[in-house]
């Protein structure tokens, strides 16, 4: 199994760029399934984002786009920070 978490490159320190509106979350697990970095966990039927997400998130927006309850708020991190694809 490839240790994918070692295979990402980043720049700077992003500000917070993903958040959850807990009241809207139905605990459907879609975000948990779709995140390619395994950054979501469902605890007590609510979505929780990994505390280290700012260091790991690939900014793909899968979680934001799959959430049909609009419980996930996503915007791009500060310019010049976040993931860098060297061989995209």
């Amino acid at each position: 199994m490839i240790n994918y978490k070692k295979l990402i490159f980043r720049a700077g320190t992003p500000d917070n760029f993903i958040s959850v509106i807990i009241e809207k979350c139905k605990g459907c697990r879609k975000c948990e399934i779709i995140c390619p970095m395994d950054l979501w966990k469902i605890i007590d039927k609510k979505a929780h984002l990994n505390e280290d997400y700012k260091e790991l998130c690939l900014e793909c927006g899968h979680c934001y786009s799959i959430c049909e309850h609009d419980a996930i708020i996503f915007h791009y991190p500060k310019g010049g920070t976040g993931v860098i694809y060297k061989h995209g």
Binding site: I2, K5, I8, I33, P36, L58, G61, I84
Partner: protein, 514 residues
Amino acid sequence: MADFDIIIVGCGPGGAVAARTSQILGLNSIIIERGMNPGDKNVSGCALSPKLWRDFDIMEQMNLPHRIAKMVTIHFVGEDNIEKTSISFSPPSSDQMAYKKSMEFLTVNVYRSDFDQWLAQLAVKEGATLKTSSLMVDLLRDNHKNLKGIILEDGTEITGKMILGADGVLSTVAKVSGLREKWRPDQLAWMVHYDYMGTKDKIDRVIGTNALHYWYSATFPVGYTFFNLEGFHVGLGGILSMANKNYDPQLLLNKLLNVEGVKRQIELIGGEPREYQAHMFPMITDWENIYTDNILLIGDAAGIACPLEAEGVYYAMLSGQIAAQVAAKAIEKGNFSKNFLKLYDIALRNSHIGEEFQIGPPISKFVQDLAFNYEAGKWIVPFFNDTLYGMCNVADAHVTNARLLESRISPYFSDFFKALSEDISPMVDKILMEKPTKGSFLIENIMGKIGSKVLPILARYLAQKSMNYHPGTLKYIVENFLVPFYQARPKHYPYKKFLYKNRLEDLGNLTDVD
């Protein structure tokens, strides 16, 4: 007085071409890019199609590390994750419809980090301003709600007459302008892959120019191994709305990595995993809401990407060029209204992009049902394999094989006819409708409307019948479906000449809408 004529948000291929075109048309443009460098945030298979060389003169100057793909192979993998059969193809040997570059290669594979930066440099060379590490967060409006420009995250205000949103699938411009909040999960595909490092020498010897491999499987949506000069991508994609515990990107990617043929390619090359990447791309059947007062959307931001192959770069570049031309017209006329900017939609419809989207809905259904839904692989892989086996194996006398063929593949007839009537026939109908004839009308109505109901029932009946009465079945299919279909087809499809032929002056023909 505005700072710039045109503000372009996002410096991918679409944004860079839009900026370059603006400059050539005598306008002053700026590109806002959130990455430290263009390409930093972008991921793709990056197999550039010959269309780019057909339609963009700049491609002749491209001198980046690349691998030319002259052959594509599609591998068919069974439920046991073992490859069963494969097909390959190359550019045609002789084809009067083809243009020179399409005869030379299938694709040219490059990395986006190289390609996007090169395109950005071309725009800068023409005088465009490139502002990197800058995130656009909102639109700037005056007291009368008229659009004046954009606002960056640090509060900087940049004023401009036209704003082109080339900021990708999660476009901020689309969102803050009210054109689109976000796409539905069934309109988006996810993509995850590993980039592997390899040496040029090894990849030359193991892969050569057979640099595109698709992995069609019964256990994961279509995967790919695409080879560059000194590296390659191994990955796959699926539709967001299909996600469930068995349709999990990482799980499916690991299944692809466990296919013997994929492992063999990696091992022979000595490939080392170098980077893990994820991205989304739009899989919409037709674009809508891509322009409003002072604003046009480009490429992925507009949903303009090939609904079949998920090719995005060409569509971004061409829509970027057209958008810049339309923006230039708007500036020339001093008319930035949504009504005037409808010209953008008209120009797109009259371009090769419009041509591609003519059969958007049936193509999208075809891809979703048969490529992204790996359940289809459970019959397609054995059907295809067992047909070839039935024709060519040496386990029995050839005459016996020939007689057994129909019985061997008849278990798959039901699914085959269902796909033929529900996924393939509607697409063929649309293609034939370009030049309606009595025959295509017949096919459309019989095959498309009645056929989608009747054919699966008929297929099941035939499949059962053929188990103990086989001689008539094939003859029946040939005489009643294939022969009429062949006879009914229009005999000649002209290579459509488009009003918009990618020349800057062509837009003049389209400006009568105001």
